[in-house]
Symmetry: C2
Subunit: 321 residues, 2 copies
């Protein structure tokens, strides 16, 4: 029980919003902003499955928060508050907990989000963490996977495959030249949710989702939910220098990057009449937004290879166990 | 990954609210009711700590929901929706999952709450479940632990100690006569959150919390949060026939029942001018509401024995490990 008191003491200073009630009550109470919808998401992660026991505690905290903020951003929602579920093992000592809370606090500050409450339990042998993120969007305007339309362009922010590459390096499944190793592991540990861009996509993006399961899997989800066909040109998928150096012209490697997951970029469709508006957003946020394909009538996902032929991609991405 | 698809298929029919987006999106989007505050709570439970592996799946689902609804009720909030975090092990097969979802669906229906979304992961060796419950209350009126005042009466609903007794029976730490055994284990497995009473306490109760850690611990939390002294007369603590038969006049046993936890009753303070209003609520909901003590100026919790002397109660309840 001592850890629970310790966590309460550590968390209280980073839970300053009135909604948190100083973490002294069983609930959070939030006066919701008028004329806005509440947007909610919840992700759980388990030690050894979604993060590595040796990961820095600050990075575990940051990633837990960021993957949820990425979901909100991809729907155009502005993050407001979070509830933290902390399933501990006997191995998290005061130093570990202090570092975790420091990382969480710094990240909440960075993204302007409040800690409203949560729960701490003993979870047994493996840490299991859960975070509920609550955001808001103008009433009726939150984006959805379901609204892609035939004729739309398909875009993705940032670069794809770095998170997967970083995980391979950290688990010693492959190695990269030293100049790329840190970049990739940083991208795995410290995803950059597109929190500022997200709300700017309202009224512009149609189908929208974040890339967590893998670009191809998430594009397939949009196709299914919108009842359209999504076509991606593999050569257009934006790669970092590190990923491009690793993949070269090797087709299976390029497919691997597009199925790896853990990217936390935004994948969205938009009317071709919006091309200039998309370009303007890219410039405004200093963030690359690449047109990688299009939406057509039909069903499912098609991936086109360098010569324009359709590739048979059997494993559409990677689902976290 | 097959289990994830299976769970999605099983859950979709019980997620009918528009906010759930058919569980086909990464978020839930809820048009919050106007002029109301959003009340949020989140509880996690782990196999072997908070529930037993052999518990019926329907009961695990129901209890996970009900402990959260109890938190909302104790703040006077009306439950609206939930997000479910499902940390599975390889042992949950289709029959288990089907029973769990059946139990959850029946309970959501019973309490008029919607499943809005959530997340399913592999959690390793032990099941870990997390639930976020979202409710609403008239703006500015949600109850709190912090508003008990010197001079208030202290009340508790229902009976205290049955959940603890039931757990002892289920873990073979004690036995009861057969006529009481089923009652106690039912109370442990199927708590009755006071969802209807809760909103009726708005404007009447001052300090309010649900009894989850144990009556004395939760009374102590109210005392601390409200910066008052709470005095409980042990002989007034309401016991079921089963608990009364087990405890008799044995003081340590009566203290044990008051510290056991897992009661999910509502503990609240109110102005003595409200005694008739409290009685009327008790009659309206067919639920006993017992005056067990009072609130005084000062600090901390006092427990008075049968002869009116103050008992030295060192362990104020039981925190789930």
């Amino acid at each position: 029980m001592k850890e629970f008191e310790l966590i309460g003491r550590l968390l209280a200073p980073i839970a300053r919003a009135p909604a948190a009630r100083g973490l002294r009550d069983d609930v959070a109470v939030w006066p919701a902003p008028g004329a806005r919808d509440i947007v909610l998401t919840k992700d759980m992660v388990a030690e050894g499955v979604h993060f590595l026991a040796q990961d820095p505690p600050e990075a575990i905290a940051a990633k837990l928060l960021r993957v949820n903020l990425s979901d909100l951003a991809s729907k155009g929602a502005t993050p407001e508050g979070v509830l933290l579920g902390f399933g501990l093992t006997p191995r998290q000592d005061e130093a570990w907990l202090t570092a975790f809370v420091r990382g969480l606090g710094a990240d909440l500050e960075r993204y302007g989000v409040q800690l409203w409450g949560g729960d701490t339990i003993q979870a047994g042998e493996r840490m299991v963490l859960s975070l509920t993120a609550i955001g808001s969007a103008p009433a009726g305007q939150a984006l959805s996977r379901e609204h892609a339309r035939a004729g739309d362009d398909l875009y993705v922010t940032g670069t794809i495959g770095d998170g997967w590459l970083g995980l391979q390096v950290l688990t010693h499944k492959l190695d990269l030249p030293s100049e790329h190793r840190d970049f990739a592991t940083q991208r795995y540990r410290w995803p950059q949710p597109r929190v500022e861009l997200g709300p700017a996509l309202l009224g512009l993006a149609r189908g929208s989702a974040d890339v967590s399961d893998g670009l191809l899997a998430d594009a397939g989800h949009i196709a299914d939910a919108s009842d359209v066909s999504v076509v991606i040109k593999l050569a257009r998928v934006p790669l970092s220098e590190a990923a491009a150096a690793w993949a070269g012209d090797d087709l299976p490697r390029r497919v691997q990057l597009a199925t790896g997951g853990d990217d936390y970029e935004i994948l969205f469709s938009a009317d071709p009449a919006q091309r200039e508006a998309v370009l303007a957003l890219s410039q405004r946020f200093g963030l690359s937004i690449t047109r990688i394909g299009r939406v057509e009538a039909g069903q499912g996902l098609s991936v086109l290879g360098p010569d324009g032929t359709r590739l048979a991609v059997t494993t559409l991405g990677y689902e976290h166990g």
